[in-house]
């Protein structure tokens, strides 16, 4: 089944295959998102009620056991997943919108604003990402909102650079000249001709970033710089269960698996979207 030996029909098969794969992962992601959105309804118990025997082993009543305060772990994992996924999506939305806007404006208008914004992004890139994020989060005194701000400050330059370089190359293309000649304003050119064309690469970058961002956000929470207890968030749940690793490992393992699955689903979707949008896949 070496595809190199299949010559004529390969592209079509490949494209169809990617299409089916994409559909499958979209459904998988949709299921994950349903679990996230309806986490409150899916919880078997109140995630913050300390009403059970502490540190029960997993059983039929408590599939993931209970934590040291006697809270149902499954409910906490579900709510924690909701917190992690929603805050990650918010973070990715912020950096995508802000980075793209900055990049497009820089690329399109150039001049002093361009130089200024690009120097600011150089400064952000001069620091190793997580170290800078740690410092900002520490400066802002932790909290989920501040962790999101910290990661946003560190991550937007990547989007700005992609958007800027794409805009620069589009700006001098014939159809943009034609649009300008026919009297389109800058706003019209940006919204009608530039944004739709840079949408693909930006979308792929954003999709592939969701997994990484989720891990980094959870990492900050794990260090105590993100969501604060008693808020259920996967990173801080694992951090508070750390001391019980030896005796009650499920306190760590269930939130760990939840975050792994969520990251895996988003990574699979991101990879497939990239393959699907990659023009090389339909040509070669």
């Amino acid at each position: 089944m070496n595809p190199q030996n299949v010559t004529v029909r390969k592209p079509k098969i490949q494209k169809n295959y990617t299409k089916h794969k994409l559909l499958f992962f979209i459904i998988l992601t949709a299921l994950l998102m349903l679990a996230v959105v309806f986490a409150n309804q899916l919880c078997p118990y109140n995630p913050n009620a300390q009403i059970f025997e502490p540190l029960e082993t997993p059983s039929a009543a408590h599939i993931c056991g209970t934590d040291r305060y006697g809270r149902d772990m499954l409910s906490r994992v579900l709510i924690g997943l909701q917190t992690s996924v929603l805050s990650t999506l918010l973070l990715v939305a912020i950096i995508t919108l802000f980075g793209t806007a900055a990049g497009v404006l820089c690329g399109y208008f150039g001049g002093k604003t361009d130089a200024l914004i690009m120097r600011v992004s150089d400064v952000c890139l001069a620091f190793p990402g997580l170290v800078f994020a740690l410092a900002i989060a520490a400066l802002l005194n932790g909290g989920l909102r501040n962790a999101i701000i910290a990661l946003a400050v560190v991550s937007w330059p990547k989007y700005a650079r992609i958007a800027r370089s794409q805009t620069l190359s589009l700006k001098n293309s014939d159809y943009v000249f034609a649009a300008r000649l026919s009297g389109d304003t800058s706003v019209e050119i940006i919204t009608r001709h530039i944004l739709p064309n840079i949408f693909g690469p930006i979308l792929v970058t954003a999709m592939l970033d969701i997994g990484t961002m989720m891990m980094e956000l959870a990492g900050l929470s794990f260090l105590g710089l993100g969501a604060q207890p008693p808020t259920a968030e996967l990173g801080n749940m694992m951090s508070s269960g750390r001391s019980m690793l030896q005796t009650y490992p499920w306190v760590i393992i269930s939130p760990g698996i939840a975050i792994f699955l969520a990251v895996a689903v988003f990574n699979l979707l991101g990879d497939t979207v990239r393959d699907y949008l990659d023009p090389r896949n339909s040509g070669k």
């Binding site: 089944m1 070496n2 800078f132 989060a137 520490a138 260090l223 750390r242 990574n267």
Partner: protein, 314 residues
């Protein structure tokens, strides 16, 4: 070549200014200074005049920029102030913890190279066979596990269940470094296996490979003599680009394994709001990062004639 080196070194100067300025400004923004911190730590309430005097003594009443330059000159003398918590000098404390982190970083990069390059090449050579799928599957798993979860799992299996490695790696020995280094290299290897595979596949699809095969050159010879040689530069780039994420990643892993390096120092300092230590950490990590990037750029220049020409054009 020497022109290029000089140009790059000159470009470093503004970057270093920005790094130090931000590190300094960060502490000011935190709204805390040595006098207030001392007051909070000792629990002694000082009168306004005493605070003013103490500030004047430390030069904290001078304008912001003046303070910055005084601070900068002190740094050049190796004086970064004292820790709010332990009252020890920051710079010696930081330097004493640095070797542990560098050892850990070097070990995990070494491990990543040993794991990801052979597996990546194997995966490319066996494209779309079982071996390839299996390696890609492993790399996918490695990419989706947060490092703190990987650390805790490794700790659970190897330290608690199998009792091979110690749970707490407080002493800086090679045996204690194994688990933290593995943790750090899991995510990195996973990422680089993919990249190595893509780079080698790209190289394998070039005409000269077909040409060599047509002339009857053994595939193993083409692979080792031509393909790997020309993939080398890309691979080095990828490795050095990862140093940035590695420097930050060590913070979490060090604090889980109690590995006594700068990452753990920083996390502890953050939890206790010990700003002088955080400041030293951010500043030195950024300087190390910038230097590593510089060395990488310079080494390309030596390695790859194509970049040499392109670089001079800039």
């Amino acid at each position: 070549m020497s022109n290029y080196v000089i140009k790059r070194l000159l470009q470093m100067i503004p970057i270093l200014f920005v790094i130090t300025f931000l590190s300094f400004g960060m502490m000011r923004l935190a709204g805390s200074d040595a006098v207030l911190a001392q007051m909070q730590n000792t629990g002694v309430v000082m009168s306004k005049e005493v605070i003013e005097n103490a500030r004047a003594e430390l030069g904290l009443d001078k304008p912001f920029l003046t303070q910055y330059f005084i601070w900068l000159i002190n740094i050049l003398h190796g004086d970064m102030g004292v820790s709010y918590i332990s009252n020890k000098e920051v710079f010696p404390t930081f330097i004493s913890k640095l070797p542990a982190t560098l050892l850990l970083t070097a070990l995990s990069i070494g491990l990543t190279v040993i794991v990801s390059i052979p597996l990546g090449i194997l995966s490319a050579v066996k494209q779309n066979r079982f071996t390839d799928y299996f390696i890609r599957f492993c790399s996918f798993i490695g990419n989706s596990v947060p490092n703190f979860f990987a650390a805790l799992l490794l700790m659970y299996f190897f330290s608690i269940r199998l009792n091979i490695f110690p749970v707490i790696s407080r002493d800086i020995t090679l045996k204690n470094a194994v688990l933290p280094a593995i943790t750090l290299s899991i995510a990195m290897s996973a990422k680089y296996m993919r990249q190595v595979r893509a780079t080698v596949l790209d190289e394998l699809s070039k005409d000269y490979v077909v040409g060599a095969r047509a002339r009857g050159v053994k595939f193993s010879v083409t692979l080792t003599k031509s393909v790997l040689k020309s993939s080398f530069v890309t691979l080095i780039t990828l490795m050095t680009l990862s140093i940035g994420s590695l420097l930050g990643g060590t913070a979490i892993v060090e604090s889980i394994f109690m590995w006594d390096g700068v990452g753990k120092l920083a996390v502890d300092a953050i939890n206790m709001r010990d700003y002088p230590i955080i400041q030293a950490y951010v500043m030195w990590m950024a300087i190390i990062y910038v230097c590593v990037n510089l060395i990488t750029d310079l080494s390309y220049h030596l390695l790859d004639p194509r970049i040499r020409i392109g670089g001079d054009k800039k």
